[in-house]
Subunit: 363 residues, 2 copies
């Protein structure tokens, strides 16, 4: 399969949905990727099973607080120069690139990096959504070493890391991102094809294109879109999709703390009566509580969309007064083992609660 | 000249004096350096003018808040492994090592790194004292690029930097140090012999040994030691040495802010009457004011010693109730150009005042 410039509207739209509020706004990365694909031709999207077991794959994307990317815009060369710096550092060419996370702008960075190199992009990612920390990536959970890793900043400064533990790497890269204006591009968690195959959430790039297309074709009132979305998710690595709430944003506050956007949003019904929904945010929408009762938690996906159009709204664009609907989507099976849940369950974010799978919560 | 294990008491004592309150306590580095010199034999100390112009020299030392080094002790291998990681990164062997700063523990790190390698240590340093930031080093002021640079942390994680501007490098390395427990060893600001010759404060390692010897031999009441110190400094790259104050510590408070020890100390006379001296601290003693009148400022050296013994006291060991004397020493000529002063004058630390050379302030 190919990713052409004209697929990027769908890919980005799907990626904002899957970003569950975080992942960084894909608008500017999309414009840059369009430029690159128009200049160099389509990107080759390959199935992970078509990779040779000894292929050298590196994951590439942006690290930082999503809010920063609204003001500190990326430039066209950053992704490809990050990849070049990685190749210089390890002393070999890579055979393919793969995404950290399909959610948000990081769905596009690998495509930008590969453009003009004839390098394939693996169809899949390391989160199946967006999540705020490196040790929450499936690659790390599957035991892949984060380094050799290379970070490239807006000024062209290059930093390399030899750090065997992903949580330590995460602490270091986050500190560097904050000292570099809030955002970095990194190439990290290098893998062989054999390592990547069991570690990836497969097919999420092409799924994101299909999701964007579905959102576009069914554009309209959120509750009316639900059946089409349910069909699409039921046939994917995800699962159940349900609507949790419809109402208006009556409060929303986040601050950049420790390199993350942290805060919460409160949604109240369109009328005067009824339950209100509170959503906790750490870059992403993590926990949804209806009148105090948990109705969805990370790693399941919580998605806020514009009520009238179904357009997903990420956390840095969520505003007081917006009329919205909230969807929840079951996470890929990869995250449902006790080992994987340790990295991504609510407790990994400091919430004193267990993960309860969406399908076991009464709708 | 050689540095033998039995010279280290003098070297360390001199280095604490020249550290002007900062630089990190040399006690543990001294014990480790003693071990290394006893095992491998003396370190070769060479005059900078004996270096070939094309020699590859790298500066090596610790980066972090001095207070941290009291609790997170360095280990014997850190300095040599930092040097090895640097050589791996640049793909060549170094010909000599040199100190960031003669003040405090960083006087000893290059000796530790060179031990057992037969590598010479250049007699001199990049500060002639201790100062808190990389861009205040004479190497940076002389235009030397900070990178390639390598950082090594307590857990053996290795980070490399390709960062052409020292103030940016300083921001990045400081952020990484804080994310690595507060302290790192780095090899940075690599230079050719030709670059180092005009950029170094020469002779400060052997001077520190001589200073330690002088402090030892004249051990006793601070005011009685003054003539011997004045003779020694007058014949060195420094200049005037005077006693600013004698009294007791009536208040001292520092906090770790942004990776630095920041605060101030107030000294009052032994009797009930008389002027009090306030000293501003950012790792080092930076500005001394007698009843509000500036009596010494950075880059001149402000040194607090125990009143009865003349033993210098660094900021993290300065305590309420200690009976002390305060010396001031003129800085090396390197810092007296307008270009160099920009990096080290009081304004570089946020004080709204010009540098006034010690010798032009009425005693």
């Amino acid at each position: 399969m190919q990713i052409r410039a004209e697929d990027l509207d769908d890919l980005s739209l799907g990626a904002v949905f899957l970003a569950t509020g975080g992942g960084g706004d894909p608008h500017v990365p999309q414009l840059l990727t369009e430029q690159a694909l128009k200049k160099y031709g389509p990107a080759q999207l390959i199935d992970v099973h078509d990779l040779a077991d000894d292929a050298h794959v590196v994951s590439i994307g942006g690290v930082g607080a999503p809010t920063v990317s609204l003001e500190m815009l990326p430039s066209l060369g950053e992704a490809s120069r990050t990849l070049e710096a990685y190749e210089d550092h390890v002393g070999r060419k890579v055979d393919a690139v793969v995404s950290f996370e399909i959610g948000g702008g990081n769905s596009l960075i690998p495509i930008m990096a590969a453009a003009g190199r004839g390098l394939p992009v693996v169809d899949g990612d390391g989160m199946g959504r967006a999540l705020p920390e490196a040790q929450m990536m499936t690659y790390a959970i599957a035991g892949v070493c984060p380094s050799p890793a290379v970070a490239y900043d807006y000024a062209g400064n290059i930093t390399t890391f030899t750090t065997p533990i992903t949580s330590t790497y995460e602490r270091h890269i986050r500190a560097l991102a904050m000292a570099s204006g809030g955002m970095l591009t990194t190439a990290e968690h290098p893998m062989t094809g054999a390592q990547l195959k069991p570690a990836i959430i497969p097919g999420t790039v092409s799924f994101s294109v299909a999701l964007g297309k579905c959102l576009c074709e069914n554009r309209g009132r959120a509750d009316l879109m639900l059946p089409a979305l349910q069909n699409l998710f039921a046939a994917s690595v995800y699962g159940e999709c349900r609507m949790l709430f419809a109402g208006k944003v009556s409060d929303k506050a986040t601050r950049i703390i420790g390199g993350y956007d942290i805060g919460e949003a409160t949604l109240t019904p369109f009328g005067d009566d009824g339950s209100s929904l509170v959503i906790n945010i750490k870059n992403e929408y993590l926990v949804a509580k209806l009148d105090g009762k948990v109705v969805a938690t990370v790693p399941d996906l919580i998605v806020i969309v514009d009520y009238e159009t179904g357009t997903p709204i990420n956390a840095e664009r969520l505003r007081y007064g917006q009329r919205v609907a909230v969807f929840a989507v079951g996470c890929p099976d990869f995250f449902r083992t006790p080992h994987a849940l340790k990295a991504v369950e609510p407790r990994a974010f400091g919430f004193d609660m267990d993960f309860v799978p969406l399908e076991s919560i009464e709708a």
